[in-house]
Symmetry: C2
Subunit: 462 residues, 2 copies
């Protein structure tokens, strides 16, 4: 079995055993089974003290299951994990997800358990995700090893984004943000202490994985820097990879030790390598998400010349400040564009870039401006800011923008929206997201995401 | 009339005229009247072509109103504003809000109109807010000059935060965020081109204003730097002032010119002066809001020693990274605290700072930890991170934290929450906000807000 096939086994096993399944709501072994039982494959709870859990026949040991088991999800205490893996190996299990914590991050004898497990993975040719993680999720197959109940945590639909997260917490946040923004996911893996499967394995898998077009990673430390660098460099040439690294400070490195058991290297070394490997470096989790969203929903840009429009100019002023820091430029609008503005817009419109259509702007005013900017050869990207609550503007502006955006995409001119506020604005933002136009609450976040589209254009040789 | 009394007139006039009131939904003059008519004072629409608008008797000119008028809100085109002010002066109006744009930001002859207005304000002793703004809002009196309909824009309830914003757009965003977070507002002013009333006037007013305890300002440029500096220095000694400045870059300064007509100075000069004046400088609008929220809801801190706890360690790792940049330190927990953790918590808990209670943590585990940290003399601030979706954690943790927070406040130990995700988590965050504990989606934003509480403690001489 090659790497692709073996890793792919985590997302569509024919049968899954939940070792440590519990019948008690609130227990991790209960939540995992409850989520997994919706999976279309066969699911077997393993628990020595129960005959049936959540309507499924339960077995005392995985060896007692009278059928083949492709994958095991382990939620028992760490001391018992090695002997359980032994049993899994005998049963022919090919993929294991260890949710349980209590390993290297605790130190002492627990550190040794982890080494034992790593050795077993190699010996039996089993691929292991974890331990100390929330595992894997695939919206297409429905496979879901999380211990977060569905009424507490949204799952996104299928799409083109793969998220890899050493931290389960950050994984959950990214997935819920994606779900709320109609950003579809291809594969998700939270890999925790990564005793076996690591970022490099996953990146090489995602390179081949047909649904994945954009990859976002949150990572705390690397065991094998060279392996990661080589994989990242290979993958980023084909699919954009955005990375956030936690634990770059000396002070945090000690905390990382007791989180996933890794002693991370200094920030500077990592960032240099990330950049050389062609990765886009995020400033924080929001920035990681913001960039991934832009890359997943919009086209790359053919240059760094930005035109913008707003019915409230404040955010445009700050967008320009941010552009100076990020290396984007204000486009000099063509004479034709200026002419059209002067002919078709109110005399109070600032007919320059940035275009201030003022608080009196209607949907029609925005349409004229954006349509002209799409046609303007001097413009590479368009930022559209909205004060949706201004009374002259009607909510159909979002549908209009959805139509315009299609034309813009064909010309490789990304459109990004800046808008923030309460329920009315958030609802219109959600609609825009559904139409494939990413929205950002503050201009600095929009500009950072736009920069990734510009860099992706450079990579594409435009 | 002194400054306090005169500025205070903007928030509780006995009677208001809306000059340029419109009967057409979608028009700015309609929305302003529609919002203002809910105000408890008398409201008079002024429109030469209507006898009645929105159920209120309308007059052709302000001079025709058979009663005294304290304040006028002007929403007519800029050319007609000077003669209207002349009429207001004859009528004895003391306060004017000019919503209309089309002044200095357009340049040319429109620039001169503005100078004319400024001259009239001085001559007739009228205080003017605007032009080119959304005006004023006071949740206690209900006065509201916005052209944003209520079904499109939330208004916050009464509270201790004053927001001043040169940009109407940013003002709207801040107010809606505040409304969603149960952050109460004392006074709000969007002052646009500030032909008369400026930041310094408003700061000095807010210094005396009894409900205001925290002030947040978004500003693009200053006419009189010395006046602002003196006022800011005086006010910040008594009430914390957080400031965000847009348009520090050369490129943005040109855009500011055509937004509010100001040629802003270079960023470096401003920031130095802000710092010397004792202001807290925000990185962006979210940061401005984050800091104001912490200052308004929590106590100042007596030092920079932070303890943190989480059932998912990822955010704590990044919080530590951020603390290194912001000058906060990880507290060294007392022996007593460590002892209590070892006795009362699961053996898999990382009983060090940061405290990792792991995904198995219950509400009781959190309670033990936070209660101990409040008692620990080595701890000045407490960061509580949550993965609310983890199945072992119950939602009553927020109520428990609400109780603990009261005790912590008395000891001047601020508690801040880090949690993000979908509806379930957002609902619990909202509950925490209602209980006075500020919540932040990513650790970097939490740490920046916490730093303001630490600096405020230094200012208080703790």
């Amino acid at each position: 079995m090659d790497l692709y096939e073996h890793i792919n086994g985590f997302f569509n096993p024919k049968s899954v055993a939940v070792i440590g399944a519990s019948s008690k709501p609130g227990k991790i072994g209960y939540a995992v089974l409850d989520n997994l039982r919706r999976y279309h494959g066969k699911v077997f709870p393993i628990n020595p003290r129960k005959d049936e859990i959540l309507g499924l026949k339960s077995y005392p040991s995985i060896e007692d299951v009278p059928e083949t088991i492709d994958m095991a999800v382990i939620v028992i205490r760490s001391e018992d994990v090695p002997q359980t893996i032994e049993k899994c190996a005998k049963k022919g299990v090919k993929n294991i997800v260890i949710i349980s914590g209590g390993f290297k991050e605790i130190g002492g004898k627990y550190r040794n358990i982890e080494e034992e497990i790593a050795e077993m993975a190699r010996k039996y040719n089993i691929r292991i995700v974890g331990p100390n993680c929330i595992g894997v999720f695939d919206p297409r197959t429905g496979l879901d090893t999380f211990f977060q109940p569905r009424h507490r945590m949204l799952r996104p639909g299928p799409g083109n984004v793969a998220f890899l997260s050493q931290s389960g917490t950050y994984g959950i946040i990214l997935l819920e943000w994606a779900a709320m923004d109609h950003l579809g996911v291809s594969k998700f893996v939270s890999y925790g202490n990564k005793v076996d499967v690591d970022e490099a394995d996953l990146l090489l898998y995602l390179l081949e994985e047909p649904n994945t077009e954009v990859i976002g990673i949150y990572m705390e430390g690397l065991k094998d820097g060279k392996k990661f660098y080589d994989a990242a460099k290979k993958v980023s040439k084909v699919k954009p990879v955005v990375i956030l690294r936690g634990g770059w400070s000396e002070q945090a490195r000690m905390a990382v030790m007791s989180h996933t058991g890794f002693l991370g290297g200094s920030g500077r070394i990592y960032w240099g390598a990330f950049k050389q490997a062609g990765l886009y470096i995020a400033k924080n989790l929001e920035d990681l998400y913001d960039m991934v969203k832009a890359l997943a929903k919009q086209t790359f840009a053919r240059g760094n010349r930005v035109a913008m429009v707003s019915n409230g100019a404040g955010p445009m002023v700050q967008a320009i400040d941010a552009m100076v820091l990020e290396g984007l430029e204000l486009a000099k609008l063509s004479e034709e564009t200026i002419k059209r503005f002067k002919e078709e817009l109110s005399p109070f419109t600032v007919v320059n870039n940035p275009v201030d259509v003022t608080g009196s702007a209607t949907t029609e005013d925005y349409k004229i401006v954006i349509d002209s900017l799409i046609d303007d050869p001097n413009v590479d990207m368009i930022f559209v800011f909205f004060v949706h609550s201004d009374s002259p503007l009607t909510p159909d502006i979002v549908d209009v923008l959805g139509e315009l955006s299609k034309k813009a995409k064909e010309l490789n001119k990304p459109i990004l929206i800046g808008a923030a506020g309460g329920p009315y604005t958030l609802k219109l933002n959600e609609k825009a997201e559904k139409l494939g136009i990413p929205t950002y609450p503050i201009p600095e976040r929009l500009v950072s995401a736009a920069k990734a589209l510009y860099l992706e254009g450079i990579k594409k040789g435009t």
